[in-house]
């Protein structure tokens, strides 16, 4: 059996992957003011990884992105629980989010809302769950 020559798809995916990844990050960060958010951004990131899976095989993709997606899901849930339960320390109801100016070492003064961290948790959970489903179906022989 001859191996099929996939050079057109492989070359195109190398370029297209950056477009999709960039757009998914844009969708994620613009979620507060425009349509978008953690769910759609996560689905689009998972779509980019699925495009890699279609082009290459499952072993190559795990070599490129050595991520355990079940742990990623757990980290995402931890983000969501942590940002929701953090308000309990300040004697406020569960899921009360805070807003404030934070001084970060590289980026300087930034105004950050904790809802973004909650959204980051949603993003990780969506990427993790989608990739777990697709990889477990794909590995089945």
């Amino acid at each position: 059996m001859r191996k099929t020559n996939n050079i057109i798809l492989e070359t195109a995916v190398k370029v297209l992957l950056f477009f999709i990844a960039l757009y998914s990050v844009y969708i994620f960060t613009a979620g507060h003011y425009y349509p978008g958010g953690g769910f759609i951004g996560g689905l689009m990131t998972a779509g980019a990884i699925v495009l890699l899976l279609i082009t290459y095989d499952i072993k190559t993709v795990t070599k490129i992105l050595p991520v355990n997606y079940r742990i990623l899901t757990a980290i995402g849930l931890l983000f969501a629980i942590g940002t929701s339960a953090g308000s309990l320390i300040y004697d406020l109801p569960f899921l009360t989010h805070a807003f404030g100016d934070v001084h970060l070492p590289l980026l300087g003064e930034l105004s950050i809302h904790t809802a973004t961290l909650f959204d980051l948790g949603v993003y990780f959970v969506v990427v993790g769950v989608t990739m777990t489903i697709i990889q477990t179906i794909g590995e089945d022989e």
């Binding site: 001859r2 057109i8 798809l9 195109a12 370029v15 297209l16 477009f19 757009y23």
Partner: protein, 134 residues
């Protein structure tokens, strides 16, 4: 520039822009219609795919360009997502056409009866003979 248009001082320029917006959207939808007619009328998978992947790509691209011009000229909103969409479609649509065509050929879909050349068949035969010699 945009504020000048809004005050109506350069109204002939805005008419030209209006013309281009309408032109791009109408021509794009016409191309899509032609692509659809081609998919219905043409005889086999390969010619249908030719019609669909070429004409529909150009049609959707010019509709997106018309939309971009509309929002830029009339609302003053530079929508970079539409440009990204144009570039993305231009890159992906021919590749998907190529992959569909190749999948059809490899799974043994026949060419149209009146087609005269099939270079890939001869090439595949040659490669198969070579590999059996090795």
């Amino acid at each position: 520039m945009l504020s000048i248009w809004k005050r109506g001082l350069l109204s002939n320029v805005s008419v030209i822009i209006d013309f281009f917006i309408g032109f791009f959207i109408l021509v794009g939808s016409l191309f899509c219609l032609i692509a659809t007619i081609g998919v219905i009328r043409l005889p086999d998978v390969y010619t249908r795919n030719h019609a669909a992947s070429k004409a529909a790509t150009l049609g959707v691209m010019s509709i997106l360009l018309g939309t971009f011009l509309y929002f830029y000229a009339l609302e003053g909103h530079f929508n970079s997502r539409l440009i990204l969409g144009i570039v993305f479609l231009f890159m992906t649509s021919p590749i998907s056409g190529h992959l569909i065509n190749r999948a059809a050929y490899n799974s043994g879909v026949k060419l149209w009866d009146k087609s005269v050349r099939d270079d890939l068949k001869e090439y595949n035969k040659k490669v198969l003979e070579k590999s059996s010699v090795d």
